[in-house]
């Protein structure tokens, strides 16, 4: 039952992620003919909102280093996720093996 439950939860996560892709339509280009980006980062939207609320505000510090392109940015994000996922996979592998060996030992002890 537990395993079934986990599978259902993982499916729910996939649906939650995929649903917006299908639901949200790409907005029509604005009056000036510029394309309005869809699925932009919320952080960038907040940045724009700061410009709307206080048009006089000037950011007083620039990032020391910016990824030279969107691809390099994706590379670094993928690296971050891979590090995390790699460790979780390692822990999961260790744990299942340990559980199996324990079971085998108990079986042997019973014989």
């Amino acid at each position: 039952m537990k395993r079934y439950q986990n599978l259902l939860m993982l499916i729910a996560v996939v649906v939650l992620v995929a649903l917006p892709l299908w639901m949200v339509k790409k907005p029509a280009p604005g009056a000036d003919g510029k394309e309005i980006p869809v699925f932009a980062g919320a952080d960038d939207k907040a940045k724009e909102l700061v410009g709307v609320i206080s048009p006089d505000y000037k950011p007083w510090f620039k990032p020391l280093m910016e990824p030279p392109s969107g691809e390099i940015g994706s590379l670094l994000f993928a690296l971050q996720a891979a590090l995390g996922a790699g460790f979780i996979g390692y822990w999961y592998g260790c744990s299942t093996t340990r559980a199996k060996q324990k079971q085998a030992l108990q079986k042997e002890a019973r014989c």
Binding site: Q5, D43, S54, P67, Q80, W91, A99
Partner: protein, 225 residues
């Protein structure tokens, strides 16, 4: 929830850094103490940190037509106590601020405060409340992790509204605007984070039952089921 580099006035940047620093320091102290006393929990600390690494790297689409990311801090907060997540959050945010120009050094304090202080403390408190209310294990974890995620983004909205009050409506009007950008987008992501946290917690309960009991996360009874 990343406030971009330079997008907080100097006084706010300093103020939030000063507010976050003690949590990071105390968090380091609790982590050190815990690992010295119980070295067998080192692996679980790694899992908690890794979970935050993965989840905060995933920018997911939301129904509002923008993208945002979960935080993954609820799991570690429930396992190791909320303070332990502050240094872990610092590492993640520093990585993104320096290499990715995502977030920033001047806004690091404010971002630590929302993601690695408010979120984890909310998660730990909600988990305790849910346990006191005798909710089952899964739903308790789900509520703690997803509400912590949401509260992180509400904190960011409040931080920005505090720094940039609306000329007409003041803090409240500005907060409403930032919250529509952050909090509404975050609702489906918070649900995803809650579900993923339950999946990992189920695995932990299966493989690391003794440690979890030791950490007071589960009782013997729950694990046997």
């Amino acid at each position: 929830m990343h406030i971009m580099e330079g997008f907080l006035p100097v006084t706010h940047a300093i103020g939030w850094s000063a507010a976050s620093a003690p949590f990071v320091a105390y968090g380091l102290y609790t982590i050190n103490k815990r690992i010295r006393e119980k070295p067998e929990q080192r692996m679980l600390l790694g899992v908690a940190a890794a979970f935050t690494f993965v989840l905060s790297a995933l920018k997911l689409p939301s129904v509002t037509g923008s993208c945002s990311h979960p935080t993954g801090t609820g799991l570690g907060a429930i396992l190791f106590g909320p303070a332990a997540m502050a240094p872990i959050g610092l590492v993640v945010l520093l990585f993104q601020a320096i290499l990715l120009a995502h977030g920033g050094l001047t806004t690091l304090g404010a971002n630590i405060f929302s993601m690695a202080v408010v979120g984890p403390f909310a998660a730990a408190a909600i988990y305790r409340l849910a346990k006191a209310a005798k909710l089952p294990f899964g739903p308790s974890i789900f509520l703690a992790a997803s509400l912590a995620d949401l509260l992180t983004y509400i904190t960011t909205s409040a931080q920005l509204a505090f720094a940039f009050p609306d000329p007409a409506g003041g803090f409240a009007a500005s907060f409403a605007k930032f919250a529509t950008v952050f909090a509404i987008t975050q609702i489906p992501l918070a649900i995803s984070e809650g579900l993923l946290t339950v999946v990992v917690m189920n695995a932990l309960a299966r493989f690391n039952a003794p440690e979890l009991q030791d950490m007071n996360v589960t009782t013997v009874l729950e694990v046997k089921i």
